[in-house]
């Protein structure tokens, strides 16, 4: 093999080769970390909210006349909506997952104000809440209609029973094996709440919160002029029902407006807008970076071929085959790429450690590094293939000519 001559040639003009290796190393550091961030965002976006998102929409009714009878209007609205063909379940709630706004509350294992042991998102719903959200009940049971009460903005809203997400149960009672049904915790001061049901997944409204998986259903309707309805439809009915619901409710009472009509798909898109944009930006960056480094390598290889025209001619004249010439340039690229990639691996890990500390990102998965290595090797070999072929076509006669 020509490894020896290649290495000695490289040692003779180190500057240029160090530059290439450095460029490959920094490219690799960026690539690895960009992929790590993309992976992190991708897995965040893939988390289920617990809802039947494809068939669910939500909207708000805001009353604006003084002294409205909120309770009567809410009951009337729920009846109207539940009687629409294609509607499966409807509930009034204060919020829903991924909405970015809602109610959270500190929870205690013992009565008293003190330091809370956990916190959870609160959804005030009626007995239809479980099915309207489309949650999977894995333990216990749903609320009975008589458990659902009314509260207002300034009342104490805490009921005797709640349904919690599995993650909330685990966070509240980390040492408890078996069913969380029947366990009791406290809202601030001394309001006990007994768990009657556990759902597999129910996210909080804040997708960026560390406790995003902790949420509970509380059997209360809110006596407020501001009501949010969550409607779950039969498959395929969602879009037409959104139009119908808006028209029906807007015309049934002129002292309120219907607004914020959204599908859960739109809500998800908005909630993860930043993450989706980050993934797109980084994909673009990695593609552009690879292209620039690749083109740079092509340019350098072309230069080297041109500079060594005579030398190649001599080698050919002395009996080197075309393949040998191609192999020389490919091997040279492989050696320099390998040095760059090795340095890049160290740089990538260093950069990742820094970013994890500075921006609390998730550390990168080990297998990203070999993937990036192979990718960069391939880019390097592809970049040099063209100039190498051109080099192999140099006529041996060149050697006889004095330039």
């Amino acid at each position: 093999m020509e490894f020896g001559p290649i290495w000695r040639t490289m040692m003779r003009s180190k500057g240029g080769y160090i530059l290439i290796a450095l460029q490959i190393a920094v490219t690799m550091a960026i690539m690895v970390n960009a992929i790590a961030i993309m992976q992190e965002r991708g897995s965040k976006m893939a988390r289920p909210s617990g809802l039947d998102e494809a068939n669910t929409f939500a909207f708000v009714s805001v009353g604006f006349a003084p002294d409205m009878n909120n309770k009567a209007l809410i009951n009337e609205d729920l009846d109207t909506l539940r009687n629409l063909p294609g509607v499966k379940h409807v509930t009034a709630s204060n919020s829903f997952p991924l909405r970015q706004g809602g109610w959270s509350e500190g929870l205690h294992r013992e009565p008293g104000v003190g330091k809370s042991v956990s916190s959870s998102a609160i959804y005030f719903v009626d007995e239809h809440g479980l099915d309207s959200f489309g949650l999977e009940l894995i333990d216990g049971e749903n609320f009975a209609p008589e458990q659902v009460g009314w509260n207002s903005d300034t009342d104490d809203p805490w009921p005797a029973t709640v349904i919690v997400s599995q993650a909330l149960g685990e966070h509240l009672f980390p040492d408890h094996d078996g069913s969380y049904v029947g366990k009791t915790f406290y809202f601030n001061d001394d309001n006990p709440a007994k768990i009657v049901g556990v759902v597999k997944t129910l996210q909080s409204p804040w997708q960026g919160w560390a406790g995003v998986e902790r949420a509970m259903l509380v059997p209360q309707r809110r006596d407020s002029e501001f009501v949010r309805y969550i409607v779950r439809t039969e498959p395929g009915y969602r879009d037409e029902l959104m139009v119908q619901a808006e028209e029906l409710l807007a015309s049934s009472n002129k002292d309120r407006i219907i607004r914020n009509m959204v599908t859960m798909d739109e809500v998800r898109k908005l909630a993860y807008l930043g993450d989706a944009a980050m993934i797109k930006i980084l994909t673009f960056v990695v593609a552009l970076l690879t292209a620039i480094t690749g083109l740079g390598l092509v340019g350098l290889a072309s230069f080297n071929v041109a500079r060594r025209t005579r030398q190649i001619g001599i080698r050919r004249a002395l009996g080197a085959t075309k393949t040998a010439i191609v192999r020389y340039f490919m091997l040279e690229n492989f050696v320099i790429s390998s040095i760059g990639i090795a340095a890049g691996g160290i740089l990538a890990v260093g950069l990742n450690i820094f970013m994890v500390q500075a921006f609390s990102l998730t550390p990168l998965a080990w297998y990203v590094i070999p993937i990036a290595m192979v990718a960069l090797w391939i880019v390097g070999q592809l970049a040099v293939a063209g100039p190498a072929r051109k080099a192999s076509n140099i006529s041996p006669a060149i050697a006889t000519r004095s330039v």
């Binding site: 003084p66 104000v113 001061d189 908005l270 620039i292 340019g299």
Partner: protein
Amino acid sequence: MFRYYLKLGTLSIRANPALSFLMVAAIAIGIGACMTIMTVKHVMSGNPIEHKNDQLYHVQVDSWNPDDPYEDPDLPPEQLTYLDAKALFDASRAFRQTTSYKISRVVQPEDDDARPFQTDGRATTADFFPMFDVPFLYGSGWDNAADATEERVVVLSRDLNEKVFGGENSVGRILTINGESFRVSGVLDDWTPVPKFFDLNNNPYEEPESLYLPFSLAVAGRFDRGGNTSCWKPLEGDGFEAFLASECIWVQMWVELQGESAKADYMQFLDAYVEEQKLLGRFPRPLNNRLYNPAEWMEYQEVVDDDVDVLLGLAVLFLVVCLLNTIGLLLAKSMRRAKDTSLRRALGASKLELFKQHIFEAGIIGVAGGLLGIAMTWLGLRGIENLYVEYDFIQHLVRMDWSMISLAVVLAVASALGAALYPTWRTCNITPATHLRLQ
């Protein structure tokens, strides 16, 4: 000499069009990536009230849970309870003071065809407008007396005035809001401070509210709170009175203080107030009051998303790759021209002359890269705008200003000259004899 080098540079660049283009494009893309993110960061971390940064202070007192700080490590709450906001406002110990909170209202236009619509508003006090230099198109804010008497006055944003009154001077006209009549006292001119420094609680990058009315009136009328409310202690009793008397925080307060001594005096006043409240059994935590100016407050609230810094870091590294690429190519090019250079040296060109000539060439590439880089930045910003198209406010965050444009050119030329240094130095140190021997 200048024109001669310019000509030589142009010739050399034209001799390798593909390669020269690659160098220009690499610099342009690197600069474009860097400047796109830097522009976004520049806008997001701006201070729209810089000229009053040493006069305005956000008020924080630690009224929180004795067992659990509002935020680790021992940070006071970001808003005030109604009790404290009212007491501090009524004490009127600052040059100007304002308490405010975000509200949600339904506007009912007079026109029978127009449907009522919901809009964000701000319940605030008379001093809000002069404190924050809010520009008026027509009329003005209300006076302190209107705060005291809970007068039904309203200030509209320019957009809302456009929507309800067709943009005419509506001062003195009546607007129905949630079934009640308000007199318009003023209409704002365009006003979009980025970030929305006076209330960073929900989204620091959103339009300011479209209507403003007296704080006292909003509280008395129990207007819906549109911002954040946080509580640590259960309400004592039921109803709205209990809520107002509670330890729930939901009011933002700013004071205007002229001079360092005024600030020290106000701090003393705050401490004295808290000590007094402690005697009444409130404020169970240690004394922890804070007065932050707008710049400090935005820093404290970490308004710039971490993602921007992550992207900025990657963009800088990206520029490094682009520059390494350019250095490599320039070096290869100069090595290839070694014979040419040697000949010039042999014929009497000094090292300095050679240096000037090559730096000139790099300069041309740098300027071209910088100009193209500005175009790339513009494209990059349009790309970002496109990715965030569902976010209404994005148009305010992707604006390029002259300072950013000049920074792009400076960065590009500096990068290109920096990149040219090593290859040029190598060129200048060529020993002519080695290269001329073969000929």
